[in-house]
């Protein structure tokens, strides 16, 4: 299993969804259930953190490469 902090929002959310479904639908040993629950909680916290800390990333294609886009330097209206 990947470390949670390495997961993208989509990956974390999908795994969280899976865990919830498994906990809801399958029988587990107490130990497995607790492990699932703990991972689910960590995934939810990770998702929340990613959402709350998200900052729009803007890049532009420039001479065949991607460079950060400087919004402030955008200039006047066309």
């Amino acid at each position: 299993m990947k470390e949670i902090y390495e997961l993208t929002y989509e990956e974390a959310f999908e795994e969280l969804e899976q865990i919830v479904r498994r906990l809801e639908e399958e029988a587990h040993s107490l130990e497995t259930a607790l492990q699932l629950y703990e991972r689910g909680q960590a995934l939810a916290a990770h998702c929340r953190r990613l959402l709350e800390q998200a900052e729009l990333k803007v890049q532009q294609i420039s001479e065949g490469a991607l460079r950060p886009f400087d919004e402030a330097g955008g200039g006047g209206r066309v």
Binding site: V20, L23, G40, Q41, A44, E52, V58, Q60, I61, V78
Partner: protein, 417 residues
């Protein structure tokens, strides 16, 4: 030679009648009631009433024009003296001034009419080719990760798009493919931008954005090459070109048409940050409930097992055995006690019977036992007695000594005793 007017004509017009006659003449001519006139604006005047007065002219003539406030309010292009325009309206006469004029209801820049014809021709051709078919439209992703934006890097459209995306879903990654959006460079740059995004960056959706402008300004978005590039795009395209009322061919070729760049950015992000947070919250709640339910079931199972265990445990069996033992002991004791009682009763019966046989018992019925005082021998026959003999009488409650008097022998049957 000019002809002399007759001084005695049958009818002499009043100015009003003649002017009204001319007005009706003009208003009855359908060609003059739906007319486009080309010329240059001059003498523009906008009094506080909101109506607009101007003249349009060319080298040879000029035409007075008036545009009522309600029509003027719908003007898309700012009027100014010297502007070459095409004006649409009806010809009539303003009777107080005796002046014919064009009552304008629409104005467009000169040349746009021809452009519009071209627009319609191209639209028809591409439509017939199936380029605008509904079946070609692809659904937009619910949660895009990478959004390609094709627009001018310095335009207000880009600012609107970025602000909207930042407000709704700052989670996305924006890749700007900069391009001119008007002028000679616009068409090849727009095509190249779309291709670069599709080939190398694989965005989940592409926004094609530009602020409002005249039909001429927006012309690149009606160019066949651009329209075809949009239709061929691998990623679904949202067009947000111009204002609400502007339509370009790109709008028809795009998968979704948005009225403005801001609206395009909104359509590209059907789910906002708030929606996602709510989704995570919902899952978190379900996670908690699932775990709670699971623990609850476990607890119940455990309680049942515990109850079973208590029943089956050696302690419990020992207790039960102990109880049985106690029970037996109790019954045994009871039996013993009962036995003893029976014995006691029997003993009493025997005792009674023994007593009945005892000589003492006979004594209690009033008999006495005599015995020789000297020898202690019982005296049972009169012949043993000598008058004056000293003997002992034993009764039930004691004894006394006595002396024998005269004797007389008598014989009794055994049964008389």
């Amino acid at each position: 030679m000019s002809r002399q007017p007759s001084l005695f004509a049958p009818l002499i017009w009043s100015v009003s009648d003649l002017t009204r006659y001319l007005r009706i003449l003009l208003e009855d001519d359908p060609a003059l009631q739906d007319v486009w006139v080309r010329g240059e604006i001059s003498n523009l005047s906008r009094p506080v009433s909101g109506h607009v007065y101007f003249t349009i002219k060319d080298q040879g003539a000029s035409l007075r024009c008036v545009m009522w406030r309600s029509d003027a309010a719908r003007l898309r292009l700012p009027l100014q003296d010297g502007l070459a325009v095409e004006a649409h309206g009806t010809i009539s006469i303003y009777e107080p001034a005796g002046q014919y004029q064009l009552y304008v209801d629409a104005i467009r820049p000169q040349g746009e009419g021809a452009l519009y014809q071209e627009f319609l021709r191209l639209k028809q051709r591409l439509e017939a080719e199936g380029l605008f078919d509904e079946a070609r439209k692809r659904p937009l992703p619910l949660l895009p990760r990478r959004i390609g934006v094709v627009t001018s890097p310095s335009g207000a459209a880009l600012r609107d798009v970025l602000n909207t995306l930042r407000r709704r879903l700052p989670l996305v990654e924006v890749v700007l493919a900069p391009s001119s959006v008007q002028g000679d460079e616009a068409v090849p740059e727009l095509v190249a931008a779309l291709e670069a995004l599709n080939c190398y960056l694989k965005p989940d959706v592409i926004l094609l954005a530009r602020g409002g402008g005249s039909m001429e300004d927006l012309w690149a978005f009606n160019d066949e090459r651009v329209v075809r590039a949009v239709a061929a795009s691998e990623a679904p395209v949202i067009s947000g070109v111009g204002h609400q009322t502007d339509f370009t061919l790109v709008d028809f070729a795009a998968d979704v048409r948005a009225p403005t760049p801001t609206a395009a950015a909104e359509l590209a992000t059907p789910l906002t940050l708030e929606d996602l947070l709510a989704n995570v919250g919902g899952l978190e709640e379900r996670l908690g409930l699932a775990m709670e339910g699971l623990l609850e079931r476990r607890k119940r199972d455990l309680q049942e097992l515990e109850a079973g265990l208590r029943f089956a445990s050696p302690i419990h069996r020992l207790q039960r055995e102990q109880q049985r033992l106690d029970e037996r002991a109790r019954r045994l004791l009871a039996a013993v006690a009962q036995g003893l009682e029976r014995e006691a009763l029997q003993l009493k019966g025997l005792e009674r019977r023994l007593q009945a046989l005892s000589p003492l018992a006979v004594l209690s019925r009033g008999y006495g036992i005599l015995s020789d005082l000297q020898t202690g021998e019982p005296i049972v026959h009169v012949r043993q007695v000598v008058p004056g003999m000293h003997f002992v009488v034993r009764l039930a409650d004691g004894r006394f000594e006595a002396w024998a008097g005269d004797k007389k022998e008598e014989f009794f049957d055994e049964g008389d005793l």
